[in-house]
């Protein structure tokens, strides 16, 4: 009885406890060709 209960809980745990990774971390926008850069005064 205890074994079954612990097994069920472990199964539910494995489904709930895993942390989700940020898969969009590497997704960066490149500068658009129309981007206006501020002029740098010398």
């Amino acid at each position: 009885m205890i074994r079954i209960a612990v097994f069920v809980f472990c199964a539910v745990f494995s489904l709930t406890s895993c942390e989700r990774e940020n898969v969009l971390d590497d997704l960066k926008l490149e500068d658009s060709p129309f981007k206006v850069y501020p002029e740098i005064d010398d």
Binding site: V8, V12, T16, S17, V23, L24
Partner: protein
């Protein structure tokens, strides 16, 4: 409830039979109402057959000493008079002994505790985990949706031609990315919380379940055997040249 209904039916049935049959003057009718079939009932020295409980029977007129007893109850002693051609209904109502009452309370408490320890914590933890899993699933769905949207805006940005298209795609991409980050944080927070609370729940539940198997069921022992508390032994001793046996008795209280 059914038992009382049957009893009432039997009483009326007996009454109707009694009304129809011809009762001789030397006899009266007696019905003993007894709840527990295990009850021992004696009229004077004659044991009353439990199969005859709750049914009317013709018996000789006169006074009888009724003694009734069942385990865990006080002995009932009463005198009943059976009158010629009359119907007597006697309810055998035995009072529980204090020891038996205590035993019953202990037994009830044992059962409550056993079920409480064995099932309730696991049930509560289980419901919590299932609920959290549902919550995490919903958050995962939202995340999937946001992930698709971010990828779509990223693709839109890379395929943009006009400045307006670039601007719109960038705006959408940044908004969705920020939302995705928030959703991801929330999702992982819920998952971590579930892990901590769920672990504590499982540990407590397992401990209480273990305790439930260790609970001792109360035992009712109305007549403790004296012999089980007595150790008796013969020891031979030499006295005045003769061997004598002495009996030593130890009584454990």
């Amino acid at each position: 409830m059914l038992r009382y209904f049957i009893t009432i039916l039997l009483i009326f049935g007996s009454l109707s039979i009694f009304a129809q049959i011809n009762v001789p003057p030397s006899k009266g009718s007696l019905i003993l109402l007894v709840k527990d079939k295990k009850t021992t009932v004696r009229l004077d020295s004659i044991k009353y057959d439990p199969n005859n409980f709750n049914q009317a029977h013709l018996i000789d007129t006169g006074s009888y000493v009724l003694r009734a007893w069942v385990q865990g109850h006080e002995l009932l002693e009463d005198t009943i008079s059976v009158v010629s051609q009359k119907y007597i209904r006697y309810k055998v109502d035995l009072e529980r002994t204090a020891a038996y009452d205590t035993y019953r309370k202990e037994l009830t408490w044992y059962r409550v505790k056993k079920n409480l320890y064995r099932y309730v914590p696991f049930l509560v933890t289980g419901v919590y985990l299932i609920n959290q899993k549902q919550k995490i699933d919903d958050l995962d769905d939202d995340l999937d949706f946001s992930e698709d949207a971010v990828n779509r805006y990223y693709s839109d940005y890379n395929q943009a031609i006009t400045p307006n298209e670039f601007e719109l795609a960038e705006k959408n991409f940044l908004e969705r990315s920020a939302r995705y980050d928030d959703q991801l944080s929330e999702r992982n927070e819920v998952a971590n919380q579930t892990l901590i609370v769920g672990s504590i729940g499982v540990i407590i539940s397992s401990y209480l379940m273990y305790r439930s198997f260790k609970l001792k069921k109360p035992v009712y022992s109305p007549t403790p055997s004296l012999l089980s508390h007595v150790d008796a032994s013969f020891s031979p001793i030499l006295m005045n040249g003769e061997i004598l046996n002495t009996l030593s008795i130890t009584i454990k209280l």
